[in-house]
Symmetry: C3
Subunit: 439 residues, 3 copies
């Protein structure tokens, strides 16, 4: 009780100070290192005597905007399924992704595109940064409802770095060309030559599913283990959805589903590769939807469909062909892959009866990944054994980070001004208490 | 009572079996017949020595994505206006469209683009398949709330075939060049030559409104007649909207309205034709909105606006210029057409006092069509007299298809796990009964 | 009491008559003056022997559609935060913007692109018209809840004219090249030559923020002063939000935020300029989001975040770089500008304790503007002193315009058929009374 006023003051300062510090540091790094690239710098572009119409903007920007919608609307509203956590789901998505976009521009730049002492930015780096933000949001989904904004900001800070380093390890040490999603022309400054008839210098993997989804899911699962709370029954009554919160979640689901072909095809090489990637993903998504509906009716007690399954279907079909969709997978291959992914992502979580709300988002992704790549993907993370990640994760349990107590989980009111007239649940006065889950 | 356990078991198996069977059959047909086209096949594209930037993807894909948003977000949420049918509206839209996309790729391919024993796919076939899914969803709107998922899947199966055959009849037998919407380059493999200065080989009609909207509406109306239930007053209390369900419906409405210029222009020939189609549709939509607001205030008892009218306005202005918007209609012509369409679609249903919820979506479309093409469109369906369609429709009344009883209509809980805490309506325990509307 | 039946009849006729008159007049003006431009006219385009792929449609239309989403979904749902004003927010946005698109095509055409007795239209005029609609909606935000549709229609009529004249004044009399947003090639008919390697004839300013946002905000603030109501405590209980109305508002917020790079870059010259504008805006938005979250936690009583601040963040970062984002601002410059804008737009309104719901939208914009351009922007409006505008505004207070009484403010039921079963608030019978706020 004695700590409460001190704590309220601390909370009032904690998030602002972290934000201002991180934003200040990022801005300074931008000032020193980040420069326009050949496509966005007035002098460089005009010096090259290009046609305006050949600027990469016209080939990448529509795809970028589709991905941008997925990150902010898709993930944000997908996680708004909880009855009293809509403000946090949409708001923290907004907050985390905005930070991750800046921070990953720096990290990815340093690791993959540091030339002449500078990071050069344009629509490619925008797409890459959005991809990294996607991984952060998948991890957010794994700890949904059990974390505060300061904790999440720190999580994003760490995860963006690990995400970049992981790509670097995969690319450099293992010699694998699977860094996908981050392969967009980092090493090819001359995209302005697009309009020439020369085929792209090399074919790259698409979608970055392996990097983004497995890393995001893996990081999230480890984090979820670190932040495990044995006494969450205290906030069990808020772990479900209400009618309209599920409809808000469907906004996110459907936008993710619609734009997944753009997500997988955004970073591919231009021409037939991008076209084929979009087409394959489109087919995979349609069949994963059908198998999800089939399995959802089958596994339920009385043949009724379950919104949680349907919301997962949005991810499985797109994730499963993430890496392979640029290849000559054939339309049939895409259908088959999507079908299996939908099955696995629906069957998987339902075998574990009480996993529903705990690992809502993540479950799909990791199941989808395991379903498609089998045991192989696990080996990709050799450099990042769970124990090391868990040590790092302990940092997130510092009591000063102001995370919710067990009885405050899944509740907007802890971090948001919530309007008084709630139509959803009875108004319960919320005690602000000391965090009861000590590290 | 004795039938209940048996029926529950049947329900649990019916939808999964149908899904798995249809998906399996579709996948096999894909394996045998569907191939990448010149723009999506790595070998064919590179053999052609094209510039990557000339790939049709960059000219069609942004329009495709707009259409994709209309189909899944637009139609899905437009139909979420019912107070207790949001899960079904959005979820079944998702389900039906995902199936229709695959199935119509096959049917349209067989009928319109079967060359050398194969169907060749790319962004054009994606647009065409989305258009056919639109027709299926218009029919779904006509039977909204009175059908189960298995029944709807069968409906989609039949309708996609009839939609394809109808185009074939219009094109082949009647010699009319109005198949629009499906005219996207089926017979023009060399879209890679886009960047050359040769004008497109022929000007085609745009938007496919006649095919899509009239067929969808017509099919839906016949179906609605076949599935007519005289005792629907049992679920009358659920036929209206609630405040937030109408707002969800506005999400669908507004997205349909915004992207209609893309819908009409997606399948046109490239260049001035596509540009003009989008422009004409844009003007038509603005004036149909104004006339809808004007008429809505005029026809109501006390000058108040009606959400049902406004939701219809999204369709009328775009539908009415669907076929003509590629022509040199003039901006004034577009305004005038839209204005009339908005008037007719608002006045029409209001003359029939109790038609509101029954034919919500469809009414607009058919009114819009009749308003613009007058008696002529009826004659297009000579080959498909209502009686024949109705015979076919009887198939959908097989009791094994597990459709809702009269008292279960307009209710998500029949087919969906619905969260327990409803903020909308009092919780009523729902008896699962035998269908009481026998064929 | 005696006036009620007369008034009901008046209301029933007022809006329809205004709509039909304005739409009729607009249509006639379209018939006389509006023609397809070089890019949309079949004869002109083919006469020029252009490649179809060089049509400006492919370079501008994706950006146009992003802007279109912002206007209708973004602004519409952003204003749906009030608990009982969602129908009006989304519906009147739809109505006003649909009218403004037509009317501003005429006004902007007469003032800026009247050649040979005709206004020539294409994707550029569509973008320009959407921009003007944006200004109208910002003003709508300033008088949200206190106006009726007839009054708003008249407001749009006046504002579109003043918006056009203001640009004309800035451009012609003051010789400033800041009319941005309206600079899209009005004087450059030969956009078809895009694919040539010649750099664009001149570099223009981007985004039109100065014109759109300051004009919209300024006009709205003056209007808000004219329509000031001293006794609004009568409807105070409806001035707040409820849980789900804030989530609907987040749909608008997030879509505005996502597409702001397209908004600022839509009217710029093609090539590196458009690319750089989108990139700068993207950075500015991310940092304004971080500073908004930081300041929101800081200024609140107990460190909790406030939805009103977050909803404002969507605007500040994009507005602040509206004019400068085409310049070589550097990525750091964009971050810094966005950071300051987020701070100012969060701190500003919070200093004025009771300004929250009154000037929700507008406050941000004007603060953002003042924050970035300081005292300079005020001088741009020399030609339009507040007093003149206020005289004009008196026209909007004519009692025949059927605006809501003080106790009817912020209530959908005055102008909309609202479904009977409200989950949000207790059902209160609404007396229709004579307007009690006489001019």
């Amino acid at each position: 009780m004695a700590g409460s006023p001190r704590r309220a003051a601390g909370r009032r300062l904690l998030l602002p100070l972290l934000c201002l510090f991180f934003q200040g540091a990022t801005a300074i790094l931008f000032a020193v290192f980040v420069r326009y690239n050949h496509e966005t710098d007035a002098a460089l572009w005009h010096w090259g005597n290009h046609s305006s119409a050949a600027n990469e903007f016209y080939f990448r920007y529509p795809s970028f905007q589709d991905v941008h919608v997925m990150i902010f609307v898709g993930f944000g509203f997908l996680m708004a399924f909880l009855q009293r956590y809509g403000f946090s789901s949409v708001g923290f998505t907004f907050f985390l992704a905005a930070f991750a976009l800046q921070w990953s521009t720096l990290i990815q730049g340093f690791l993959h595109a540091f030339h002449g002492g500078h990071i050069h930015v344009g629509v490619e780096s925008m797409i890459n940064a959005d991809f990294c933000a996607g991984a952060v949001l998948i991890s957010f989904g794994a700890v949904l409802g059990k974390t505060g904004p300061a904790q999440l900001l720190l999580m994003a800070l760490l995860e963006v770095v690990l995400f970049g380093v992981n790509e670097f390890v995969l690319l450099g040490l293992l010699g694998v060309r699977v860094w996908a999603g981050l392969g967009v022309g980092w090493s090819v400054p001359g995209w302005g030559l697009l309009s020439s008839c020369v085929p792209p210098p090399q074919v790259r993997d698409a979608g970055g599913s392996m990097t983004i989804h497995t890393f995001g899911a893996y990081f999230g699962l480890v984090l979820s283990r670190v932040l495990y709370r044995p006494r969450l029954e205290k906030s069990k009554h808020r772990q479900g959805s209400v009618y309209h919160s599920d409809l808000f979640a469907m906004i996110g689901t459907i936008f993710l589903w619609i734009f997944w072909p753009s997500f997988n095809s955004a970073p591919t090489s231009l021409g037939d590769g991008q076209h084929r990637t979009a087409l394959n993903t489109y087919y995979s998504l349609t069949s994963s939807t059908l198998s999800t509906f089939a399995l959802s009716a089958l596994v339920s007690r009385d043949g009724r469909l379950d919104m949680v399954h349907i919301q997962n279907a949005a991810l499985a079909g797109g994730v499963v062909v993430g890496t392979s969709s640029e290849m000559m997978l054939t339309p049939f291959g895409a259908l088959a892959a999507g079908f299996l992914a939908g099955m696995v992502s629906t069957l998987g979580p339902s075998l574990n009866q009480n996993s529903k709300s705990k690992t809502h988002v993540v479950s799909t992704t990791s199941m989808g990944c395991q379903g498609s790549w089998g045991p192989s993907w696990g080996s990709l993370w050799l450099g990042w054994p769970p124990m090391k990640l868990m040590e790092m994760g302990l940092l997130l349990k510092l009591p000063c980070l102001d995370y919710p107590s067990d009885s405050q989980c899944y509740e907007d009111q802890v971090y948001w001004e919530v309007p008084g007239e709630h139509e959803d649940t009875a108004q319960e006065p919320l005690r602000v208490e000391e965090p009861d889950t000590q590290a």
